[in-house]
Symmetry: C2
């Protein structure tokens, strides 16, 4: 890491929260002044960003046979409380509707904190035979959690406005297991499109989703050195199937409970995108999801208005190819426009001054690197498209590089403790595989165990707690 | 109306409710077995239909300068109760969240029944000067109404999953008035796209939106002779602006409250689309919104499998032009396929049998008319597109014709009363313009006054109640 990067990171560590709030405000992503804690308003630019991110997710899921549906928000108490583990995991967090008009309701209604308990009773109606399996559905909805901790826009909310949850049912445990791995591949592709780096772990038993057999999770790293959980995948086994009576008839006529999985992401993935690529100027959006990919700014010279006309034509030409282009023809200084659109994270700026008009060219400025270069009008469209592709790639590489630099291998409790207290990122430690050692590691270092890494198997070293030979590696971090 | 049509209408009148439920079920639009009254599940096919309808609405609004945003669902009681008229209009219908986890909340939270009270406090923060006006935003959200009446899928819901509400603020009353008329034009275009006929009226004072100066509404006619309100447009004047302190600075430095409008539609527009074009077989969707526009069915002859290959190629060719095509290659009898897709309302079916393969043609069947005709493969794409256009037009014309036939002019209370008791559709009656006469007309006929017609001015006749000369015409109907 060069000095500038390190300084930036140091400043982010201390002032990250302010940076994040300012960034969301300057880029007009969300309005944070709604008068209830933990509720926010999506502004038009932010909503466009959200919808582009969702479009990527929808395409990934639909291509792999998931069908979109929409289930009700309100879940009657008796239905909600059927799965004992599940309700224990959520009961502190659920909002309850108790009155309709002036009437007290006979049955209290929960605002869904997640939708297993509204979806699975329907699965029980729909699934009859092996021919109905696998069933793969998803929905994008608002969910509610009564957060008592400090809330934070896009990160810790009371109304999560953008919860994508997929739910699947299968005939065999092997099919469910394979679906878990398919979901891992979907999420990897998704985060690669956003250029957001991640670690994938199997959550420890004490941090498994309420009602699941086991949980996998994707975590990324915020600039302040804390991890942010950005996606989870659960193998539910037959736990819910048994409670909600989801059975299918085998070819031999016998009946069997289905095996289920579910996996979700929320608007945290947008927070992660902002964090992964942000800098002193604010956010920088990968061209794949940027609400506006290119801003075209004419640079008038004295009374010369020709630049505006040429610039407008260039914007139209690019727009016609399907690119998302904004032409800024306002009668204010170009410098003010640059300032504003940099803070909106638009990845590419085209400037058209008299020299460009005369030379048959445009001056191009990349938001991610600040580099200026010239593109000939003769090759405008292919060159701009190539540049956007390059920006996507460079941004992803840069984010991964920074992520890797903040993942360190440590083997001593003292070292890990120090890393946690200085928020030095994610620590990879050897692990004997015993739950007790994991819990003790948390207590002694002040970090949280993210879990056993999915794709990284350690061969050497010994457990920092019991000193037995390591069987695998475990990730530890301060978490959001 | 020919005899068949009349018979169908008679049957619908008595059995409409069953027809509607069966239609939604056979077409897999919604699942009605969710265990809370008034809550339903959108199935994949229904959700696609919904999203196509929303796409039309979004495009219409965005082209006319409306920006999409997303506001919170939960509204604190104090904010919700600020506008006295408004809360009086809604207090019987509001769901209240009183608990988070095991804690009783300090301030009760309303589930929005509509969003004036969550949006306008934000307007007060955003609007500073005349340069901020007009402000035109919209959102598509779920809203909640504690309905004590009988609920009905897509029509009367406790969770309205698909509420599109637009909210605007203006500098002058004239600007607000002009926006009301602009909204009328938007909704006319929208319903014309769906082929749904409508009457537009100014609602009488006793049926005006709570907090509005006046309300306009679009009503269509269900097959059972009752009207269905499918869109409303409200001129709010300065009522909310004064309560929520939404002011702007004029060029001369003085401050003035803004003038506001709002207008909404819900998933009732999908119910209206189903009703407007349905027949004994179920729904028939206009190609503009049909989730699938064309189903391609190979008709195998004995062991001849060539038809399948040709049919698949035809489907691919059509799909490549952007049409929504489903190729049904299942190994079941073609008749079963026809039956199924007719009940899904797919507007066009292509059959490819051995004769078609040999003749270089496809056999085409229109869902709306049942007519069969042949299209040459040489002109496949343009002919299919032309046919879909023609179907859109014919369906709209037919729906309007039926609507007009069920709108009759009557001048005597006795006649109107009879029309109401036999559910004979909408009655247009002369009106003196006095509120009392309107209310008396409701009492004496058992119908509801929809209001004064927006585009129809009556010149002759006399008020059926007071016998004074009519100043305009009024519409009366049995309503949903």
């Amino acid at each position: 890491m060069h000095t500038g990067e390190r300084m930036k990171r140091e400043r982010w560590k201390s002032g990250f929260s302010e940076w994040f709030d300012e960034t969301l405000w300057n880029a007009k992503i969300v309005e944070t002044r709604y008068p209830v804690k933990g509720l926010y308003v999506w502004l038009p630019y932010g909503l466009k960003l959200r919808n582009r991110v969702l479009a990527i997710m929808r395409e990934l899921l639909e291509k792999r046979g998931h069908e979109e549906m929409l289930f009700p928000l309100l879940i009657p108490e008796n239905l909600f409380k059927k799965e004992a583990e599940h309700i224990r995991g959520f009961e502190e967090q659920v909002y309850w509707v108790t009155h309709g008009g002036k009437d007290r309701l006979d049955v209290k209604l929960a605002l869904r904190p997640t939708s297993e308990t509204s979806i699975y009773p329907m699965f029980a109606l729909w699934i009859r035979s092996h021919a109905d399996l696998p069933l793969k559905v998803f929905q994008v909805v608002n969910i509610f959690r009564y957060e008592t901790k400090m809330t934070k826009p896009l990160v810790r909310l009371r109304e999560v406005t953008t919860f994508k949850e997929a739910h699947t049912a299968h005939a065999t445990p092997e099919d469910a297991e394979a679906q878990v791995m398919a979901a891992v591949e979907i999420y990897k592709k998704f985060f690669d499109e956003l250029g957001v780096p991640y670690a994938i772990t199997k959550r420890p038993p004490w941090d498994t989703f309420a009602g699941a057999v086991y949980s996998l999770a994707f975590d990324t790293l915020a600039p302040d050195g804390r991890t942010l959980q950005i996606g989870t995948i659960h193998n539910l086994g037959q736990n819910f199937a048994k409670v909600y009576g989801i059975k299918y008839e085998r070819e031999d006529g016998s009946h069997e409970h289905v095996h289920q999985t579910c996996y979700g992401i929320s608007e945290r993935v947008i927070a992660a995108t902002v964090m992964a690529h942000g800098d002193d100027l604010g956010p920088c959006f990968p061209p794949k999801v940027a609400p506006v990919q290119i801003v075209v700014v004419p640079i008038p010279f004295k009374k010369e208005r020709n630049t505006e006309e040429v610039a407008r034509k260039i914007a139209e030409e690019l727009k016609a190819t399907g690119l998302r282009v904004h032409f800024d023809g306002r009668d204010i200084r170009p410098g003010r426009k640059f300032y504003e659109w940099e803070r909106h994270g638009i990845p590419l700026r085209l400037e058209i001054g008299p020299k460009d008009v005369n030379g048959g060219q445009v001056t191009t400025v990349r938001r991610d690197t600040g580099k200026r270069f010239v593109i000939s009008l003769r090759t405008l469209v292919p060159d701009v498209k190539k540049t956007l592709e390059q920006i996507n790639e460079d941004m992803r590489d840069k984010a991964w590089k920074s992520f890797s630099e903040n993942m360190r291998e440590l083997g001593e409790i003292k070292e890990i403790k120090k890393a946690m207290s200085t928020r030095a990122g994610i620590v990879r430690a050897p692990w004997c595989g015993k739950e007790d050692c994991g819990k003790e590691l948390e207590e002694k270092t002040g970090g949280s165990v993210l879990g056993e890494e999915l794709h990284h198997k350690r061969t050497g070293g010994e457990c920092p707690v019991c000193s037995e030979p390591a069987k695998s590696s475990i990730l530890i971090a301060k978490t959001y």
